[in-house]
Amino acid sequence: MNFTLSDEQLMFAETARNLFADSCTPEHWRKMMEVGAAHDDARWAALAENGLTLVLLPEGAGGMGLAETDFAVIAQEAGYVALPEPLVESAGVAAPMLAALAPEHEALADPSATIAIAHPLNPFVANADTAAAILLHKDGEAYVATPEQVTLTAQPSIDPFRRLFTVDWNPSRATRLGVADWDLALDRAAVFNAAMGLGLAQRAVDLAVDYAKERQQFGKPIGSYQAVKHHLASAQVAIEFARPVVAAAAAQIGRRDGYSRARVSHAKIVGLEAAEKAAQASIQVHGAMGYSWEVDVHLFLKRTVALTQTWGTPRYHRERIAVRVFGQPMGPDQTFAHETSNRELQNA
């Protein structure tokens, strides 16, 4: 058993962290908000040059052929900066699906192209207007189209960097790709959104900690008061106990059984609950400032709301966990169980 990140994975995280720290600060997204932009071409190009869009693509499609655990560490860093661009949906979910169905597709040839996905679980498609290709669902099969081949209706999100659309389309104007693995797409999206949740959560706590060290009331920094400390400590507890669930879910996606699916859903719920708890604590600690447009916390809150309710609501994911709880063995020998565990134990 080895439940730790490898040096290579830690290096990915560091590469992403450094890249985002330089290019994706609140000053960067505030400039984008002023002009109503949701995509920064220079940042996205840098991110593509560093290979972040190629992690999950198979080598046959020009990618690195790495695993979900490798991408999850990048998603966490994307959450920490509330990255505006659709790295997770495009490179983490849609591109690997397209590569599995059509490895030669031209949208895969350009590492800086984005791909959108209309998963049957989601009512809206994110970033469909700027995508080089949109993956569409009909009767379990996947189709692919360009934005010009479909009709997009904008559905503005409270998160200024999520451009949502409803899509009307006709199969005769799209390319049929055949039966696709929509469940795998969902599992990947759920885990990477959970990983982003960990990043959003930690950033919300860190912002509040910085503020609480500086802001004085009654002659002392507010961070010295126990009531303030306890809000942030509770949020940190939620983060610490979501983290290993997200890591295990990412590592086990490939098993594709009821146990691994339950853990993916568990990760989706607790990763974003940690973000919600942290954002709320952060706003509270900031006081009235926390309720202002000027302070950065609101973007982390809005992204949290968006990610919580997309790619399966908490109720949807809780029901997947219930299937595991009430249908499969529980107990202390089941932590790392999968569907052949009992036979393996007998053979040991």
């Binding site: 058993m1 655990t69 900690v209 060290k213 400590a233 940190q236 106990f241 590592a251 202390p332 932590t335």
Partner: protein
């Protein structure tokens, strides 16, 4: 990342399971805090464990252990709880004093104290708290004064778990003339020594799980001091780290409880509030998250890391998950919730007693308020 057990770990699990299947008593023992008889029945169980060399599995072999690594320890605990084996009356020795002695004790002290602890021959109580020093442990006032080759102990200890029936206690004492964290020493004393008076304190479930201890000119050899004079605070903080870290509460306990809760739900779901299903699922999630966190921590420690302030997050998490879990059980039981085990209609699991015990979780081993302060100050860097 590889989340599968090795063939060696699987074989180890099978061996533990086999031994426990033969040796775990069929009928549950009376609780060790309920009566002298219950205490002695648990002492006998400690001897049985020792006979199979399963008493102190993480201790080095030379002191009566097996030298297991932390993953093997987790597997052992999983099988232990899975088998429904009795609670460990010597928990203070196994998880608190034992590791502390191994780290800070002299060779002579290890030889004197560890083997009888491992064999269940000497059961240990802890004597840290005082009426004026609970969460503020540095406020301890009991004194230890060196007189020739002996320490003379005086003072008043309270909330000492196991002290009513146990043989020995480890206590924190002040060297006169020094204040706060400096000048504290950790000293062992037999609970039947002249000058020691132990008064039982009943817990809210009626068990005599606590005691207050009065010490009047109690003489113990200087040999009974662990570490140097004045090092007591440092040693106690290391001990508290063991306690708050992974060893006080192995995840298996909550995984078994979550499984029983799911069974309870399945039995009562026709009559119970449908909204409670979400709480049952949550109990599973919490137990699972706790187990995953502990596995990850164990692997980190095995790779050379030290337990740090993040151990305080564990204590908050397990104590809160335990309350949530038992409260959910009471809600599912409805009018049956208040029944004692003597009631003919009672559920086989004593959920109300489990719930009452769970309520102590946020208090003992350092209150959760103290843990949150530690997280805020030492993990997040907020000012004191």
């Amino acid at each position: 990342m590889d989340l599968t057990y090795t063939p060696e770990q699987q074989a180890f699990r099978a061996g533990v399971r086999e031994w426990l299947a033969v040796h775990v008593p069929e009928a549950p023992l009376e609780h060790f805090d309920a009566s002298r008889a219950g205490f002695e029945a648990h002492r006998d169980w400690e001897r049985t464990l020792k006979s199979g060399n399963w008493g102190m599995v993480t201790w080095p072999g030379e002191f009566g252990g097996r030298g297991l690594d932390l993953i093997q320890w987790l597997i052992f605990e999983e099988e232990y709880y899975r088998a429904g084996a009795p609670g460990r009356v010597n928990q203070n020795g196994i998880f608190l004093l034992g590791p502390t002695l191994i780290e800070f004790g002299s060779e002579a002290q290890k030889e004197r104290f560890l083997p009888p602890m491992a064999a269940g021959e000497e059961i240990w109580a802890q004597a840290w708290s005082e009426p004026q020093a609970g969460s503020d442990l540095a406020g301890v006032r009991a004194t230890a004064v060196l007189d020739g080759q002996d320490y003379v102990l005086n003072g008043h200890k309270i909330w000492s778990s196991r002290a009513v029936f146990a043989d020995w206690a480890f206590g924190l004492f002040r060297t006169p003339g020094t204040e706060r964290h400096k000048g504290l020493s950790l000293v062992f004393f037999p609970l039947d020594a002249p000058g020691v008076t132990v008064n039982a304190i009943k817990k809210i479930n009626g068990h005599v799980g606590f005691a207050e201890i009065f010490l009047e000119d109690v003489r113990v050899p200087a040999f009974n001091r662990l570490g140097d004079e004045g090092q007591g605070w440092h040693i106690c903080m290391a001990t508290a780290g063991f306690e708050r870290g992974l060893m006080l509460r192995s995840p298996a306990r909550y995984q078994v409880a979550a499984a029983k809760l799911a069974e309870l739900w399945s039995t009562h779901k026709e009559t119970a509030d449908p909204a409670l299903e979400a709480d049952v699922v949550r109990a599973y999630m919490n137990a699972d998250a706790y187990a995953l966190n502990i596995y990850q921590t164990a692997l980190r420690l095995m790779a050379g890391a030290k337990i740090g302030p993040e151990a305080s997050t564990n204590k908050i998490f397990w104590s809160e998950l335990d309350i949530h879990l038992t409260r959910t059980a009471l809600a599912i039981l409805g009018p049956l919730a208040e029944l004692t085990q003597q009631a003919p209609a009672a559920d086989p699991v004593d959920w109300i007693d489990d719930h009452i015990f769970a309520l102590a979780g946020p208090i003992y081993a350092g209150s959760n308020e103290i843990q949150r302060n530690i997280i805020a100050e030492r993990m997040l860097g907020l000012p004191r």
